[in-house]
Amino acid sequence: MTKDGSALSESRSGPLWVNAELTYRCPLHCVFCYNPLDYTSTFGKELSTDEWLKTLREARELGAVQLGLSGGEPLLRDDVEILIAEASKMGYYVNLITSGIGLTEERIAAFKEGGLDQIQLSFQDSTKELNDFLSSTRTFELKLKIARLIKQYGYPMVLNVVLHKLNIDHIEQILEMAEAMEADHVELANSQYYAWAFKNREHLMPTREQLQRAEAITMRFRERLGKKMKLYFVVPDYYADRPKACMNGWGAVFLNIAPDGLALPCHEARMLPGLEFPNVREHDVDWIWNQSPGFTAYRGDGWMKEPCRSCDEKHKDFGGCRCQAYMLTGDATNADPVCSKSSHHHLIVEQVERAQHSLISAEETRPLLFYRDDKNARQFADEEKSCSEH
């Protein structure tokens, strides 16, 4: 056993951050969604209010302090009020991650009363309606209204905008909108290529030129607005040569609970073959975190192969993302191919090169995209089922 491992086993270990994906139901159809492709398989199996509370209590006992309520669109559940109030009483710092659809004054007042600490509002860009959205006064007014409501209840206005090839050139309009909404923090994050975004990768990856332009515009706003509106810009990791420290390490701080109770070390791990993930309906969080094969599989560095095993950065980036390694190389124990030391790094380089030469326009791209909707999800679920039957 490694030195790190023995130190861990001496103290009772647990997650610090719990992300509760309350439902995969969603009124939006974002092409960059990171929910699983077969998300409809969780319909009819969603955890009950009591099951959520039991799980949150168990995680809190192990020392979890941050709670994210996300989805899908979490506001589609009518027990968010109860979950916020109870989680807050347990001592969680409660974050609501929402598109804002369904956020009424009545609900926000109840959330505040219950102790909700933070609201993250995502920019409702479902791509199909992007131009409409940017030019439509009605939606814009609605968005302003929600933003005002958030501020009125004493919350900072935290705006999340997912960027991609089809909207990145509108960054100036997006930032002007953020400024009009008096946003305090704006995260401009390029989509990461998982799930629906991976299906649409070809059409979502911006060119180098687009990225540079968007960054320059962001810089201009940053210089002008300073502390008034804090701007974060995240480039796609395909453009990097060092892998990201995904989740700060497998089973290190982050516990994701899917709507059907599946406990996962990240949002995407459900796709990894050969790993069985535990369900909070059948196991307690202590066992899930400390004993379950799914959570111990890639914890620490014992699972690493070369070039990770002998790499002096292995405790900095943990070999990158297991899911990305699996999606691109077929083996989750390989180095994340974003790493320039990976023998598969050419896959990233080639994909980035392809993104520079895409000739089709946004209008031509739209019909080619896979929209995140129930029909497409059911189709993926059926395909998977027939694959496993044969």
Partner: protein, 90 residues
């Protein structure tokens, strides 16, 4: 930046101070993050309540720990906390 000695200090909005039994230490929670405040750090932040000033906090700590030379340490710690945006002058 130096802090005024006699103005009330308060935690910055969005910061929450609490005792964490699992970690046996005080923490400051803020959106998507946590700051551990072991030992004296927790003792200092605990006294920030929107009323107490820098001098008031030092006096309270001197009373709790008689004979300890802590004035400069408390000033340094709170100035650093202010620079990092954990606390503000009311």
């Amino acid at each position: 930046m130096s802090l005024p000695p006699d103005k009330p200090l308060s935690l910055e909005k969005q910061f929450r101070f609490q005792w964490e039994p699992a970690q046996q230490c005080h923490v400051l929670l803020y959106p998507e993050g946590l700051i551990r405040l072991p030992g004296s750090a927790g003792e200092i932040i605990q006294r920030i309540d929107g009323n107490a000033s820098l001098n008031g906090i030092i006096a309270a700590l001197e009373q709790a720990y008689p004979g300890a030379e802590l004035r400069q340490d408390v000033i340094d710690f709170l100035e650093n906390a202010h620079d990092k945006g954990w606390i503000r002058v009311v």
